[in-house]
């Protein structure tokens, strides 16, 4: 579990994050949503220690990550896996070498054990035939899956995904979302995802934190988001008329379901 308490961060006098508090639960996909420039990526980078916060605390299972000395931060970092927006694969290494890299740096396994672990992770993300290819030779969706495989190869407790669907078609986005969600539940990982993809929000959003201009505007889950009365949130989610119609239809269906359930219970 990760707790954020009163996080504040600014750059050159401009406040980018203002008093953000939230809890990211383990075994759940915790989404951070918001418009471009709302502070999602800055918040995520603060959580993994790429930026130092100005005020507040970031607790990883009660350990204050933001106050820890570098050596102890490294220990927590070894439990973190991260999927970057651009995947950040090492382009001079093959797919197999990319996934093997964390094992070679931090594990004492034999070569065969490492190979077996790499094969397992690549199979788990449905990449069986790409081991010897370089990142430049594979598609965007495949790169994301390699990124996920590399992120989970050391059995992390925390998984961070910065806009995992950017640049992907809707079908592939769904595959990536479901994969992340399955891994989260299967390994009881605390997963934090930055996204502004509403499909992701509706499909896998167990906990959703909505940021607006660096402030926490709303918090809830994918069922509650439909009924939210927050105008800024509604303007963000249902930006298109199509989605507004979809929201109305969904609300009608849910009311129907509730009515049917109530009838069934009465009988």
């Amino acid at each position: 579990m990760i707790e954020l308490i009163g996080i504040k961060k600014g750059f050159e006098g401009k406040v980018v994050l203002d008093d953000i508090s939230a809890v990211m639960e383990s075994g759940k996909t915790n989404l951070i949503i918001g418009t471009s420039g709302s502070g999602k990526t800055v918040l995520m980078k603060c959580m993994v220690g790429l930026f130092d916060i100005d005020e507040g605390e970031i607790l990883y299972n009660k350990a204050n990550f933001s106050q820890l000395p570098d050596r102890e931060r490294k220990d927590i970092r070894k439990e973190i896996g991260m999927l970057f927006q651009g995947t950040a694969l090492f382009d001079s290494m093959t797919v197999e070498q990319n996934v093997m890299f964390p094992l070679e740096m931090f594990s004492d396994l034999s070569y065969h054990e490492k190979k077996a672990r790499v094969n397992f992770c690549l199979d788990r993300v449905n990449l069986k035939d790409a081991h010897k290819k370089f990142p430049a030779e594979i598609s965007g969706g495949m790169k994301k899956r390699v990124g996920i495989a590399r992120a989970i190869v050391l059995n992390p407790k925390y998984l961070f995904c910065d806009e995992p669907n950017s640049g992907l078609d809707p079908q592939t986005s769904m595959v990536i979302d479901r994969l992340i969600h399955e891994l989260t539940v299967e390994y009881n990982i605390t997963t934090v995802i930055n996204t502004h993809d509403m499909n992701s929000v509706m499909e896998i959003g167990d906990n959703i934190l909505y940021l607006y201009q660096g402030h926490k505007q709303w918090e809830g889950n994918r069922k509650e988001i439909i009924y939210s009365k927050d105008e800024k949130l509604n303007a963000f989610i249902f930006a298109s008329e199509f989605l507004q119609d979809a929201k109305q239809m969904r609300q009608i269906e849910m009311q129907k379901d509730r009515a049917d359930n109530a009838d069934a219970q009465t009988r």
């Binding site: 220690g49 991260m82 927006q85 651009g86």
Partner: protein, 234 residues
């Protein structure tokens, strides 16, 4: 940057692999251009020195002395390293810049790796090991090329050249050349790494960082050249 480089590597085997890779990239990758430059500098030095040697009272073997001392004291360390600032320096700056812009450095940081220790220190150590070797090779090849050029152009015989080579040879010149080589190697690797590691932006900024790395390295090499000459030879 330099202070935070020096920490215990997370994995010695991986650090060694990275170091050896850099030695091959810097050493083998630059050997061709160093040889070409050295051959031509040695040959041209012989011909131009002969051209300037107008008095018949001065023995022809003096040409070999001049070529030897010029190669050892100046051409091999300084000109070779200025060329290496372009070849090696731009490679280091653009490699690190690319890694920075594509978030590969961030990915390493998040894995818990000291990126300065893993990416920069092997480059500096490899430069300190390999560049003095390249300077030494340059000296030998340049002096040999001078002999060949002298023979082909009929300026002086091989016997006269060899006689001149051993006359009034000072071992201190070798020490001076190696001091320059180590100093310039550190300048090239550290300045290029700095510009590449701290790049912000995209492809344009990577190109600018690469250019700045080369220009700054060259300026510092020339300043150090003068400083070392004033300190050690005056």
């Amino acid at each position: 940057m330099l202070k935070s480089m020096f920490s215990r590597p997370e994995n010695w085997r991986m650090f060694w692999k990275q170091f050896m890779r850099q030695c091959v990239d810097i050493g083998i990758g630059s050997l061709g251009i160093v040889l070409i430059i050295s051959v031509f500098i040695g040959g041209v030095s012989t011909i131009q020195t002969a051209y300037q040697l107008v008095s018949p009272l001065i023995p022809r073997s003096t040409i070999a002395q001049v070529v030897r001392d010029s190669m050892i004291l100046e051409f091999s360390p300084t000109i070779t390293c200025i060329v290496l600032a372009g070849v090696v320096g731009s490679k280091i700056a653009s490699e690190l810049g690319n890694m920075r812009v594509s978030e590969q450095i961030d990915a390493l940081e998040i894995m818990g790796i000291n990126t300065k220790g893993y990416l920069i220190l092997p480059k500096i150590m490899a430069a300190l090991l390999v560049i003095p070797m390249l300077v030494a090779i340059s000296g030998f090849v340049g002096i040999w090329a001078g002999k060949v050029a002298g023979e082909f152009s009929g300026i002086l015989s091989s016997r006269d050249y060899m006689q001149g080579l051993v006359m009034e040879f000072k071992g201190y010149n070798i020490f001076f050349a190696l001091t320059k080589a180590y100093t310039f190697a550190f300048i090239i690797a550290s300045i290029s790494s700095y510009f590449g590691y701290y790049v912000k932006g995209g492809a344009l900024e990577i190109g600018q960082a690469s250019t700045k790395a080369v220009v700054t390295s060259c300026v510092f090499i020339l300043l150090a050249d003068y400083g070392l000459a004033a300190l050690l030879l005056a």
